[in-house]
Amino acid sequence: MRYIVLVAGGSFNPVTNMHLRMFELARDALIKTGQFKVLGGIVSPVSDGYNKPSLLPSKHRIEMLKLALGRGGCSDGIPSSWIRLGTWEAIRSQWTPTRKVLDHYQRRIDAMLADTDEAQLNGPPDGKRSRIDEESDELAWLRSLVAKLRAKESQPDVRIMLLCGGDVLQSFAVKGVWQEEDMVSIVRDYGMVVLSRPGSDPHRFVHTFDLINPYERNIRLVTEWAVNDISSTLIRRTLQRNESVRYMLPDPVIDYIYRNGLYGSTASWPRLENFAD
């Protein structure tokens, strides 16, 4: 039995219900195979060094993710028990290739399993609150999961798996986006769960793409039959037009956007004309 921690990268600019749904669908799909148990999920937003024009500072994107995952403190919703925010990638000034993000988390997990995890031995740096503290949150959580697991199994097999959409898979074929050795490492050493909508043909892509085809059994293709097509681009466009984005992303995230006037939105929830009570 393999224990999986799903890691999803991306801009999360802003986080939407579609992003969150992706985790739920991937988890159900893995469990249904009977070969996996899903230990948890990590959302790893990209750093500001990614240099995309409309990318909000990571401070905002991180805060919105916290609200979406129910840990911002002001949410009425139920926190997600199994998905956590990973800030290691976001706080670095340079952009980090996806493969390195996966390496980072896998290394930490391996260290926890082998009892060589530094933070566990030495404790977090004391005194001043630093960015390292934020990182410790998700690692502390991973540590507790691994510890629980080791109480039941002596040599548990815990692997990171990349969670992404069909567009990311298809981007493998675009020159210059991925290093070849990274792609191979991802499919060979980690594995992927790819969420595609009906009508796209990820099977054909895996079939025809020589580089990854040898590892096709590590690439789980999941069809999202109930299409949940809420992209961040659509959200930003809708906000810009002063139209409602309600029910496409969690209410606390919308509230945060309005309060901070992000994405060109007005500063408050759209009000009805003053006829309504």
């Binding site: 230990l39 919703g77 999961l145 949940n228 509230d255 003053n274």
Partner: protein
């Protein structure tokens, strides 16, 4: 969302009409359960109507159908209303109160109410306030229902109209009111619906022609189009409503979310996650009340559940959906305890007290029969007898058979019984 012109050019150019129409959006349906898509429809419609410059949206009403509708897996009105109430709560953080109200009148009636009558009822409250008369003296609320003095939505509608009046009155006093040609104050309900409802106009058994005409002519509709259905073409071909195409507002390219209530019910049955498809508070309610055949172990919302246990529960619940424990002495009653591998759970027969480690796997349809739950897709009981449901049932049976065949070996003796074998 894009506001699509209805077929043909408007005979009455919108620009020449200075009056902005005041509307209240009304949506009917099962809401079984309410989903983010239902709620999103209102938001999209409001934005689009406002943008068109023709309308002012005063508010919205959701009117779920009564239990008497007779649909097979319809949760009780009490549950559906409560889920809607949770869904329509204003955002937890400081924000304006909800602009969509929950109309309970239709749901609590003993008989099914045609949509047109629901519109009439709420319109009666509006008209009464507009004309300054009591609601009992206007048409509407058929069947001898007592008037709507206590109906919260009617009261709210009247309040809206009063405010409308006072605002209109205030602006009229700004100029020389004697010379001013103001159009009479008006407000009406407009039916908000999906393309499937519009398409259902084509089925003679479902709608009275007179009702369709009234809806199109006197109320108007806002139709959220979905891929695969061309509403303009339908309006062009439908004689009853074609004369009133001005009143039929089509919204295209809006759908970002294709999740229907039936898909959600299916996922719940299968122990799959429905998170982020409907509000958390509604999901929580569904699991607390064990609605729609959901499996108790599958709501991981509470952070006290470790993901490991929840994952294990999900495996046993979804993959072993057909597991039913039978007493080793052959009693027909089900064993107490949940569907987990025998090595973990002690199980006792309610009838004779025997302990059993045996498992019997039946197809999920047979299990549902045992439990007395009606499977979702018995075609002869469907409202519309759609053959799609036949195929879905075939598929789900095949999938269950496949998933049972793929189960890992369990500790303890396992007896595998095929679906076709007699149950004795």
């Amino acid at each position: 969302a894009k506001l699509t012109d209805t077929v043909g050019c408007s005979a009455m150019p919108v620009a020449a009409d200075p009056t902005i129409e005041n509307v209240v959006l009304l949506a009917c349906g099962s809401y079984n359960p309410v989903t983010n898509m239902h709620l999103r429809m209102f938001e999209v419609a409001r934005d689009a109507l406002r943008k068109s410059g023709r309308f002012r949206v005063l508010g919205g009403i959701i009117s779920p159908v009564a239990d008497a509708f007779g649909k097979e897996d319809l949760a009780s009105a009490e549950h559906r209303l409560e889920m809607l109430r949770l869904a329509l709560s204003p955002p937890a953080v400081a924000g304006p109160p909800a602009w969509i109200r929950l109309g309970k009148w239709e749901a609590t009636r003993r008989r099914w109410t045609p949509t047109r009558q629901v519109l009439d009822r709420y319109q009666a409250a509006i008209d009464a306030e507009l004309t300054g008369t009591e609601p009992c003296s206007t048409a509407g609320g058929s069947g001898g229902e007592s008037c709507d003095e206590t109906d919260a939505e009617c009261i709210w509608l009247r309040k809206l109209v009063r405010r409308l009046k006072s605002t209109a009155g205030a602006s009229a006093h700004g100029g020389d009111s004697a010379d001013r040609q103001t159009a009479p104050l008006a407000a009406r309900l407009m039916l908000l619906c999906g393309a499937d409802l519009l398409a259902s106009f084509a089925r003679p058994s479902l709608w009275r022609t007179e009702d369709m005409v009234t809806i199109a002519r006197d109320y108007g509709m806002v139709v959220l189009a979905r891929s695969g259905f061309n509403p303009q073409k339908f309006i062009y071909e439908c004689d009853a409503i074609n004369p009133f195409e001005q009143n039929l507002v089509i919204l295209s390219e809006w759908s970002c979310n294709d999740t229907s209530s039936s898909q959600i019910r299916r996922s719940l049955r299968r122990g799959e996650s429905v998170r982020y498809l409907l509000p958390d508070s509604v999901i929580d309610y569904v699991y607390r009340h064990r609605l729609y055949g959901c499996r108790a172990d599958c709501w991981h919302g509470q952070s006290s559940v470790s993901s490991d246990d929840a994952a294990e529960a999900a495996v046993s619940s979804s993959a072993a959906a057909a597991a039913v424990q039978r007493c080793s002495r052959g009693c027909q009653t089900r064993m107490t305890g949940s569907a987990m591998p025998a090595a973990r759970i002690r199980k006792e027969c309610r009838a004779c007290g025997a302990r059993s480690t045996r498992h019997v796997f039946l197809s999920s349809a047979a299990v549902d029969d045992q439990r007395g739950d009606a499977p979702d897709c018995l075609p002869q009981q469907q409202q519309h007898g759609d053959s799609r449901h036949d195929r879905h049932r075939q598929q789900s049976l095949q999938q269950d058979a496949a998933s049972v065949a793929a189960l890992p070996a369990l500790s303890g003796p396992v007896r595998h019984r095929s679906h076709s074998e007699s149950k004795s």
